[in-house]
């Protein structure tokens, strides 16, 4: 199968490399030429526009930042829609608002192009190790066509429902992840301010009901003070904006998510936006008057 891939950032690059490693022939486009460098020896072909990529592929995967970027790649001049290729499948792994995904899907379907929203969870580590979780919304037959590709990039692949349902699942995922991240940060800071060894607390908690992958992985990194980004704070802020704006439109109160979103507003405001989202622990420490 000829596969297009657009968006070779922190997540997209390892995802595309895993497809290349599995023997797939890739067609690429990137805004910055440097992003194409890691694909030099994979036999991938580079094109001048997303439309050119679409002309050469049966499936185009995208992984960009936000809804305006997806719209740009899909619907702007030189975008995928311009290829006018009926039956083409576009699978977008960006995290955008469910309503935006449905809207883009409708616009593409007018050109006979099938759009799947296929956001992922698992961070850069999951992308590199091909252990991502895919949450997919859209046409079931198109999903079955793309499934083998998802399985090369991830471990858990679920067709959640109709167009937009993948993004709804991702929003749910971010509610749980962001609040848990804050909970782990608060617990470890509570231990620290109480004069108790956070590492021992974490070890104790890992055996009980407070166990979570976030306590294990991110809790460990918080203790080591290793802020190298898997998932950057500004992206968490963006995802929580999507969650809360959707809740606003739905008429749904999310007090916990709203509280945590304020911490991520502060992260970006104080210049920690490029660090991993687990660096939120620094703000909890700052609020608690703990010198860093």
């Amino acid at each position: 199968m000829e596969i297009g891939f657009i968006g070779l950032g922190l997540m997209g690059r390892p995802m595309a490399l895993n497809l290349a490693k599995a023997g797939h022939h890739l067609h690429l486009w990137a805004r910055r030429a440097a992003a194409l460098e890691p694909f030099k020896d994979t036999g991938a072909r580079t094109h001048a526009s997303p439309a050119e990529v679409a002309r050469h592929a049966q499936v185009v995967l995208t992984c960009v930042a936000d809804a305006p970027d997806v719209e740009q790649v899909c619907l702007a001049a030189g975008g995928i829609a311009e290829s006018g290729k009926r039956g083409l499948i576009v699978s977008d792994s960006s995290t955008i608002a469910p309503a935006a995904a449905r809207h883009i899907g409708e616009r593409l379907s007018a050109q006979g192009i099938v759009f799947l929203d296929a956001p992922v969870s698992g961070g850069a580590v999951g992308a590199v190790n091909a252990t991502l979780t895919f949450m997919v919304g859209g046409d079931a037959a198109a999903f079955e066509t793309v499934r083998p590709l998802y399985e090369k990039m991830g471990k858990s692949v679920t067709h959640v429902g109709a167009s937009g349902a993948g993004q709804v699942a991702k929003a749910c995922n971010q509610i749980v992840v962001a609040i848990t991240m804050e909970a782990v940060a608060e617990a470890l800071t509570f231990a620290k301010k109480s004069g108790v060894d956070g590492a021992k607390v974490r070890a104790a908690l890992l055996g009980g009901f407070a166990y979570s992958r976030i306590l294990e992985h991110h809790g460990g990194k918080m203790l080591e003070r290793d802020w190298k980004p898997g998932f950057k704070a500004w992206m968490q802020q963006k995802d929580l904006r999507i969650v809360l704006q959707s809740a606003h439109e739905l008429g749904l109160a999310l007090p916990g998510a709203a509280a945590v979103a304020q911490m991520f507003n502060a992260m970006v405001g104080c210049g920690l936006g490029e660090e991993d989202n687990m660096a939120v622990v620094k703000l909890v420490e700052r609020l608690g008057g703990i010198a860093q």
Binding site: A247, N265, A266
Partner: protein, 294 residues
């Protein structure tokens, strides 16, 4: 002076009437023709589109609901742009996002039309009594030209800063006001749950440090369980959507306001959007009720 007024709702109608009473020649436009009737009775002239209003006026007021509504009357078909002469002034009294106010101002400036963002606070009563607080963003010399008009609408007119600054001030106003309504609701709920008369509590508080115009007005509505709209809660909900999005772009944490926003979401879910924002009390009461759900 020849003036125009677009948007004759709960706020716009009394504001427009005050301009007519101040002796100005007023041309009006409203989407629903019957909204203009009280103005026509007072001697205003009705126009079929914003363009005609703009053609007949030196200063045009807009009091519509959303930023997109403002864009529509300014740049849409038969919009202000099609009728306005260079040098005329658009005064936007709607509450919209600061960034959108700036963008609209720039687009108008390219055609030689001045814009002030001049959102108001004080509710329907303030509009009727011409006692509104008006917060203005834009050029000082443009404000000087229209200040006598604003003085006919409100009691305090403050030049806050450049275009958009009026909207920033309005966002600050909404944050304090609705957070204060929520605080009053929580106090009333605590009093009632304690078996103490909320009316007496409100009365006692009004002499002390917790006294505020919100406690006075909205507190009384809560005590009397009069949830009919002074200000429709859906408009506060709309404003909170705008300002919380602004907080994301600015990287500013707003912990309390974010919680109040969630209470407003719950209020909307109960279908009380067209009732008064004092309905925040009913949201709390609902949460504390024994749950009959399975």
């Amino acid at each position: 002076m020849k003036l125009g007024f677009i948007g004759l709702g709960v706020m716009g109608r009394p504001m427009a009437l005050n301009l007519v009473r101040a002796g100005h020649e007023l041309s009006v436009y409203a989407r629903r023709a019957q909204a203009a009737q009280p103005l026509l009775d007072a001697g205003a002239r009705c126009c079929p589109s914003p363009a005609e209003v703009a053609a007949a006026a030196q200063v045009i007021f807009a009091m519509v609901t959303t930023g997109d509504d403002v864009e529509d009357i300014a740049f849409g078909q038969r919009g202000i742009l099609e009728g306005a002469r260079p040098g005329s002034v658009l005064v936007v009294t709607s509450t919209i996002a600061p960034a959108q106010a700036r963008a609209i101002g720039e687009r108008l400036a390219a055609h030689g039309i001045e814009m002030l963002d001049a959102p108001v606070s004080g509710g329907e009563r303030g509009a009727i009594e011409a006692s509104l607080a008006i917060m203005v963003g834009g050029k000082a010399e443009v404000l000087d030209r229209v200040r006598p008009l604003l003085d006919a609408l409100g009691k305090t007119v403050v030049h806050v800063g450049a275009t958009g600054a009026g909207q920033v001030a309005k966002a600050c106003n909404q944050m304090i006001m609705v957070a204060c309504i929520e605080a009053c609701a929580e106090a009333m709920a605590l009093a009632a749950r304690s078996g103490v008369d909320p009316g007496r509590v409100r009365q006692a508080l009004s002499g002390g440090s917790a006294a505020s115009r919100v406690l006075d007005f909205f507190g009384t509505k809560m005590v009397e369980r009069d949830f009919a709209a002074g200000v429709q809660a859906r408009l506060h909900h709309k404003d909170f959507g705008i300002l919380m999005n602004e907080a994301v772009h600015l990287g500013t944490p707003l912990p309390v306001v974010a919680q109040v926003w969630q209470q407003l979401n719950a209020l909307m879910a109960h279908g009380w959007g067209r009732d008064d924002t004092s309905s925040l009390l009913r949201v709390l009461e609902g949460l504390a009720q024994p749950c009959g759900c399975p």
